[in-house]
């Protein structure tokens, strides 16, 4: 297990390296970037930047410094928000984003896994078609369509839930539902496909031939095998959830990282956008790593 963990950790290094290098090149190649000084900016920011990035040094030293800063999780100052570092903004916004994303993923799993199994068991019957249609709907309805419609219905026309903000826990209900919709749909489809496959396998027939209860056949024999593809989907899902939360936070006006990111992008706040991209990249890489480890732990056939 330890060897496997180390192997996986080492495997993440190239990804990390490419992410960092790619963003470094982007920043330096970009026309109108702060480093080419084509843009007007407050002198104190400019001075700060030059000091920060040591623009007079040769490029490889800049690159080294850049790597070093990131190794310390130091993403530098924000342009847009004066006297605020990107780290401050991330620290401020991350709890909100994490709450929305975490609960959305949880909701998607809680709904998607059982519904997917149900659809598989009732394959080609009404329940299956219904589940599959709902899933297709979830995949076809982008969050920025679902969210406004939900707001119109639950907040504007009926005064059931707040339309935005983070004033109370009720504020999180609509965002979490919206964000969860697409992942529920994907998990349902994956779960359906894998359950159908597992249902055909010989060991399920053995379990039935043993006279076990239906609950035990499904819970102990089918579920652990059928859930593996869902587990490996969680890696890409984490990246997609981060992406999705950008839209959600924008629509519901929640002060999460995604909102800062969009504001930064629209206002060309280079350091903020770069910092958040890197931060998200690190999260995604870390999450993929965790998912891989969980997978290895769940599937006894994975050799460490």
């Amino acid at each position: 297990m330890l060897a496997y963990t180390i192997k996986r950790l080492l495997g993440a290094i190239p990804t990390l390296f490419i992410l960092l290098t790619l963003s470094f090149i982007l920043v330096h190649a970009a026309p109108g970037s702060p480093f080419s000084m084509a843009r007007e900016m407050p002198p104190e920011v400019k001075a700060n930047l030059e000091a920060k990035y040591h623009l007079d040094e040769p490029i490889y030293e800049q690159y080294g410094r850049y790597l070093l800063n990131i190794a310390h999780f130091d993403f530098g100052p924000s342009y847009q928000y004066k006297d605020t570092t990107v780290n401050d903004l991330i620290a401020e916004g991350f709890p909100v984003s994490l709450t929305i994303g975490g609960f959305a993923l949880l909701l998607a799993l809680v709904l998607g896994v059982p519904l997917g199994m149900l659809a598989a068991v009732r394959q080609n019957r009404i329940t299956d078609y219904l589940c599959s249609a709902i899933a297709l709907g979830g995949i076809s309805m982008p969050s920025f369509v679902i969210a406004p419609l939900l707001i119109l219905w639950a907040a504007v026309y009926n005064d059931w839930l707040p339309a935005g903000g983070v004033d109370s826990w009720q504020s999180y209900i609509l965002p979490v539902i919206t964000l969860a919709a697409m992942f529920t749909a994907y998990i349902l489809r994956i779960m359906r496909a894998s359950t159908i496959e597992v249902l055909r396998s010989n060991f399920v027939r053995t379990a039935r031939a043993k006279g076990l209860s239906t609950a035990r056949v499904y819970g102990v024999h089918i579920l652990p095998a059928a859930i593996l593809p869902v587990v490996s989907y969680l890696g890409p899902a984490a990246a997609a959830i981060l992406t999705g939360s950008v839209v959600i936070e924008e629509i519901f006006g929640m002060p999460g990282i995604g909102r800062f990111f969009v504001n930064g992008a629209l206002n060309r706040d280079y350091t903020l956008v770069l910092g958040i991209t890197l931060f998200y990249g690190l999260i995604v890489i870390a999450f993929n790593l965790v998912v891989d480890l969980i997978y290895g732990w769940l599937d006894p056939r994975v050799t460490y």
Partner: protein
């Protein structure tokens, strides 16, 4: 009489229409008896026994009758065809056990052997975890798996094919069923292992007086293990009789062909 099958018919609804699998199968087995069903793949022999267990796919239609004698004298026998899931669950594993052709895929790769053996004993015998574990290890030893107490904690992929089939046998016989259905139990195994597996089955059967329904395409295996044989071809029962009769005075042309196909040393 332990099991009495009368006029068993099986067909499947498929995209391409109805497919008949078994036309009209009747046979019976006494307690402790060993009966072989011989036929090539597609002859309906596997479908027949899966039908007895209620394990056919959802698009299968089964008619006819298969009566399992009651466990205690005086009670009515149990009709297996069309039985409720609850009734079938109490028969499966406890009174009729089954082992399958491919030991590589018949065990759940995600669960330890111990889990898969204990659940059976707990379900049908109402044993506690520790008691079931002890019984499971004894069963593993009975099928001559070395270091059973340690290896029962293994996952299936840590065993060889022959060892996995031993595990399957240990599992199937752990609740001392009255009938063991073995569907091509040695086909997927190395030739050197085949005899050992058959020996293990014979030895345990003798101990528990378990009847055997052995399904195979190999007449040689039937001759060594069974007292009676059924020959099936394309869903029909073409020959039925004692081993002696089937081998020495076969009625059906097909049986003669099968016998002629057995390779002999003298050529």
């Amino acid at each position: 009489m332990l099991l009495d099958v009368q006029n068993l018919k099986i067909d499947f609804e498929t995209h391409a229409g109805r497919v008949d699998a078994v036309h009209d199968l009747s046979f019976s087995i006494d307690r402790g008896e060993a009966v072989g069903i011989v036929g090539e793949s597609g002859s309906g022999k596997s479908q027949s026994v899966l039908a007895l267990m209620g394990l056919l796919a959802g698009n299968a239609r089964v008619s006819g009758s298969a009566k399992l004698a009651s466990a205690q004298a005086g009670e009515p026998s149990i009709e297996l065809v069309g039985a409720k899931p609850r009734v079938l669950r109490r028969v499966r594993g406890a009174r009729i056990a089954m082992i399958f052709q491919d030991p590589m895929t018949a065990l759940n790769p995600h669960l330890k052997i111990s889990t898969q053996m204990i659940e059976l004993l707990r379900t049908h015998r109402g044993m506690g975890r520790r008691e079931a574990m002890k019984a499971a290890i004894e069963m593993m030893e009975a099928v001559r798996i070395p270091e059973a107490a340690r290896r029962i904690k293994y996952y299936p992929h840590q065993f060889s094919g022959g060892m996995r089939q031993r595990v399957m046998i240990a599992m199937a016989l752990s609740c001392e069923p009255e009938l063991l259905i073995a569907d091509e139990p040695t086909t997927a195994l190395d030739v050197t292992v085949q005899d050992e597996i058959l020996d293990v089955i014979a030895e345990l059967r003798e101990r528990t007086n378990t009847a055997l329904l052995l399904i195979t395409h190999d007449l040689g295996v039937v001759a060594g293990q069974c007292s009676r044989a059924l020959v099936m071809r394309a869903g029909d029962l073409v020959e039925h009789g004692s081993i002696d009769k089937v081998f020495n005075a076969p009625e059906a042309e097909y049986t003669r062909d099968l016998l002629a196909a057995i390779p002999r040393l003298e050529g």
